[in-house]
């Protein structure tokens, strides 16, 4: 039972790992393994697993059958395998090579684990900091003055103080009707120029839409964001003629 607790196949990375474990556990020399002994140990471990209904990976079964094969070959007298491809001693040598090599990587993996832990104790920033553009090119005071006073000038042209609280749509409809009647044809920006506040521009737009609905005027725009041309509508033409 002690072996069962000791040998859990999922603790092993593969059959080579289990083999190395068995070699060290039994204090064998990895360079001169007693094949018969190790085969028995290995098969025992795999059988224990199967008894516990634990699914044993194919690699372990393959290794078990290989070890049994190697063990039986080594028991046979020398001349009986003369014709075959490989000398069992040579096979044992190959297996030893594999075990030694794997054992090396197993140890390196342990070394890497230590390195990983040690290196993990250093903290670093994984994102690069970029120097903000505005730190690179300083603005000059003039540009600030220019930005400020230009804005002020703009807002001075249409001072908010004179803005009326309410702009009556009816008033603007009459005003626009007059302008169109006078000019026959004009641009939307001409109307905007007559407005004293943003609010009035908005109401003017409503007025234009209302006049279009009433067919007093018609408006056309040749392209997106292009100038809007306003002309007399059917009704106004009739008024004109009539």
């Amino acid at each position: 039972m002690s072996r069962l607790l000791d040998v859990r196949l999922d603790n092993f990375e593969g059959p080579l790992d289990l083999l190395i474990h068995l070699i060290y556990k039994n204090e064998l020399n990895i360079y001169d393994i007693h094949i018969a002994f190790i085969a028995e140990q290995f098969v025992g471990a795999v059988n224990d697993m199967e008894k516990l209904d634990i699914e044993v990976a194919a690699e372990f079964i393959n290794m078990a059958s290989y070890l049994i094969y190697l063990k039986s070959r080594m028991l046979l007298p020398k001349d009986s395998y003369a014709d075959e491809a490989m000398d069992p001693e040579e096979e044992k040598f190959m297996l030893t090579q594999r075990l030694v090599e794997y054992s090396f990587y197993k140890d390196v993996a342990e070394k890497l684990r230590v390195l990983e832990i040690e290196s993990g104790k250093f903290l670093m920033r994984s994102s690069t900091l970029h120097i903000p553009k505005e730190e690179m090119s300083t603005e000059d005071p003039y540009s600030i003055a220019n930005a400020f006073f230009s804005v002020l000038e703009k807002s001075d042209v249409k001072p908010m103080k004179v803005e009326r609280d309410t702009v009556d749509v009816g008033d603007l409809i009459e005003k626009i009707k007059e302008i169109v009647f006078d000019k026959n044809k004009l641009f939307w920006t001409d109307i905007v120029k007559t407005c004293v506040s943003r609010r009035e521009v908005v109401v003017a737009l409503l007025a234009v839409l209302e006049l279009m609905r009433l067919k007093f005027i018609q408006a056309m725009q040749a392209e997106t964001f292009g100038e809007i041309v306003i002309e007399k509508g059917e009704l106004m033409k009739e008024e004109n003629n009539g």
Partner: protein, 172 residues
């Protein structure tokens, strides 16, 4: 150098972005902390390592010395544009009219400036300096020390006056 000082420096190094006093009060002994932090900042900046710690709105940030910007810009310079027209206008209004509320800025610019104001706060070019004593108690904004640095002036009073600007303008 004691551990607290090292934690202060390494936190600023790891973060790369500003860390406020609240953060350090969590990490370090909060009693009389601010005075100690100020002395750490002074000591660090006196070493002149190329990095320095600057005070930003309510916190600290480890940044590059201005003197190295030309050398480092090709490798670490941000690829985005300088201040936008809206940012320039808004920060100019704040510079001349500070402290000023956002609504007042909006009235001068004729457009809503909330996005721009937020951007300028993030860039540490302006800061909140109080509330105006009117209904709604709106926040008041002023420009920062960093703004002065950025403009290459020592004091707001160095900004051109209206008359100076007019002269400059006509000459150009």
């Amino acid at each position: 150098m004691d551990k607290e000082q090292k934690i202060f420096y390494t936190s600023l190094f790891l973060s790369g972005t500003p860390l406020d006093k609240k953060f350090f009060r969590k990490v370090l002994e909060p009693i009389n902390l601010e005075n100690r932090l100020l002395s750490y900042v002074e000591q660090f900046n006196a070493m002149e390592l190329g990095m320095r710690i600057r005070m930003v709105s309510g916190g600290y940030q480890m940044v590059t010395d201005k003197g190295l910007l030309n050398e480092l810009e090709p490798f670490f310079g941000e690829k985005t544009e300088a201040l936008s027209r809206a940012s320039l206008e808004t920060s100019a209004i704040i510079a001349y009219k500070q402290p000023i509320t956002r609504i007042e800025i909006d009235e001068i610019r004729g457009v809503n400036s909330s996005g721009t104001v937020r951007h300028l706060l993030e860039k540490n070019l302006i800061k909140v300096t109080g509330r105006k004593d009117v209904p709604g108690r709106p926040l008041l904004y002023s420009t920062t020390k960093h703004f002065l640095e950025y403009m290459g002036i020592n004091d707001i009073s160095e900004l051109p006056t209206f008359r100076e600007w007019q002269e400059l303008k006509t000459r150009q």
